[in-house]
Symmetry: C2
Subunit: 351 residues, 2 copies
């Protein structure tokens, strides 16, 4: 019998946002790897690619032309997962097992820059601020549509994350229902707020700042940290210090601080394995259903798959799909490694 | 305004096992693909590979030698995610956000065959029966250990599913807690059983057999179907017709029928894209916590990632991680395509 050592012993951690447990196996980081290697393209991208359907002026998949845009640029997804059509539907309550209902929605693509080769970590702060302002505008415009109750802003970065075009871009899927993960999060946030009259994330950020061990970056208005319950090896979350429930409620100063921490975090990510670091990221914030939602607290998740190098990722497969998410390296160790990364992008570093 | 057509219109479906919704976008199957292609190894594997740490007689990662086994063979995982050590632990109830507890467990590897090149669909029925009997023995032995309350039997097949060695093998992770997905499933099964005095899956299978559209294979004792709420393009589930709550309760005839449907399903999978079809699969059944669990009903999930061809998979990324699982092709269409696959393995087919 030995005393529990969270840095050494297999254990489970609790995720209070999703209300579920995660398996952590610190000792397993030493496992040798003979499995699949991801291919990374070493080629440098051109500033403009005549065959890219996102570059300014080019023809898109639906035949229309992109304008000669010079900052960020938004258009409707040509292969949207949802449609705007209103559908007549009568629920068949006889069906215990075959429950289905139509879903209305809008999908948009947000090009981050006219430059084909410029990802977030390499962009100017001002250009990142423009992206944030674009997100604000889309959240407002889409959220104001009567049947839209949720606006999901996200980015798939890198081909390993299913991104089909290297031109830096994100997406927005706005829809009538709260998606499953958002609904779960809302349940947790609401039950915490009803009990404590503060947001769960306000108190969590305070506790994390006090602990210190999982903080990656802190500025006056935001914190980037590896959540105590992170499942991906270098998963992080950007959280506002103030309990702001949606992106449109940030002050000008907060927008600038958000742009800064976004750049700093993604620079550290790129520096970690000297590669354009793949991830899926996305913002969780108040639904647009017209209610107040004081329980919501702005946060942005980063789910990056890489584990050991630019080519070896963590696989969330058999045990993880059937049992629960499992990680090999502790969140504390990951935060330490990210903290140590330089703030200058490796491509700009003079050796 | 148009009437809802489940084969054409975007909609959400409800998964009664996990108690959550899934987004279905039937019209999106026509989306062009310029993203990542998986590499598939066309090379034929040797029957014996002197460098493989799973082949009979070879040296393993921990330095010990495999015996000259001639059917299936089980050993302790050299890089187990859990350990058997008993850990002293006092819960710190002050921690609202930093909840963790030690987890005890055992991980084993199950080699399916001495042959380095023989996957399930290519094995003799008798050899598949032997694997099932091995699973029964492991479920009993591990389940009898006092601190083991759950035994997760699973397989990661193919490098795209994180499998690090092509020698056909599965794994077993046995542990003291119910993993997250199992606990969710148990909640749903129990609430259904308490209300209806039949298992959810017994009634579901009856409803599916009546509907017919999602059935892939049926024999006297088992059904292989694409669940109404499937998230992966060709996801399936093998369910026993009889409400049996664990693998050790099958009759000899049922074991044979299970081996047969396992072979038939995996042959159809291989034939779909004329490739060794990757998937993660695993058995959900009664916990081994000493309670009765009449609500549990044996089923085996198959989560295969391929979407369009042997090299293009479905990515569960940005929207799926932050929002909810999304699929492009309807479960009914997938079931139809799988049903149409020949029962003879493409490698054995004489053209
Ligand atoms: O144990 P293996 O085969 O080395 O590892 C594989 O399966 C495990 C269980 O699903 C996963 O945690 C790993 O990410 C995966 O690579
Ligand atoms: O919309 P895209 O970029 O073509 O597609 C990508 O992102 C979507 C949203 O996360 C996923 O459903 C797709 O599987 C992925 O390839």
């Amino acid at each position: 019998m030995k005393n529990f050592d969270i840095n050494e012993d297999p254990h489970r951690r609790f995720n209070p946002l999703l209300n579920e447990w995660v398996l952590v196996s610190p000792h397993r980081a030493k496992r040798p790897w003979q499995g699949q290697n991801e291919t990374i393209s070493a080629e440098t991208l051109p500033k403009y690619d005549p065959t890219c359907y996102l570059c300014p002026g080019n023809v898109r998949a639906n035949g229309s032309n992109n304008p000669a845009y010079d900052s960020s640029y938004v258009f409707e997804n040509d292969f949207a997962a949802m449609k705007q059509d209103e559908i007549i539907f009568e629920e068949d309550i006889k069906h215990t097992f075959f429950k289905a209902k139509p879903e209305q929605g809008i999908s948009r693509v947000v090009c981050f820059s006219p430059r084909h080769d410029l990802t977030l970590p390499e962009m100017e702060l001002k250009a990142i601020e423009t992206i944030i302002k674009t997100w604000q505008k889309e959240y407002t415009d889409l959220g104001n549509i009567k049947y839209i109750n949720h606006v999901q802003i996200f980015e798939n970065k890198g081909s390993v994350m299913g991104c089909s075009n290297p031109h830096p871009h994100g997406q927005i899927w706005a829809q009538s229902s709260l998606p499953t993960q958002v609904e779960k999060t809302q349940l947790s946030l609401k039950s915490y707020f009803d009990k404590n009259h503060t947001t769960l994330l306000e108190d969590y950020v305070k506790a994390e700042l006090k602990a210190g061990t999982r903080i990656v970056i802190e500025n006056d208005h935001f914190v980037a940290l590896v959540p105590f319950w992170a499942i991906w090896p270098y998963e992080t979350m950007i959280v506002s210090k103030r309990a702001v429930n949606k992106i449109t409620n940030f002050t000008a100063e907060e927008v600038t601080a958000y742009a800064r921490i976004l750049k700093q975090l993604t620079v550290k990510y790129d520096n970690l394995f000297s590669t354009s670091f793949p991830y899926s990221s996305g913002i969780h914030q108040s639904p647009t259903d017209g209610l107040e939602h004081p329980e919501w607290h702005f946060h942005m998740h980063f789910y990056p798959p890489l584990l050991r190098s630019a080519t070896v990722k963590k696989f969330m497969v058999g045990y993880e799909m059937l049992g629960e998410s499992q990680r090999d390296i502790t969140p504390e160790k990951s935060a330490e490694i990210l903290r140590q990364q330089p703030e200058i992008h490796y491509k700009d570093a003079v050796n």
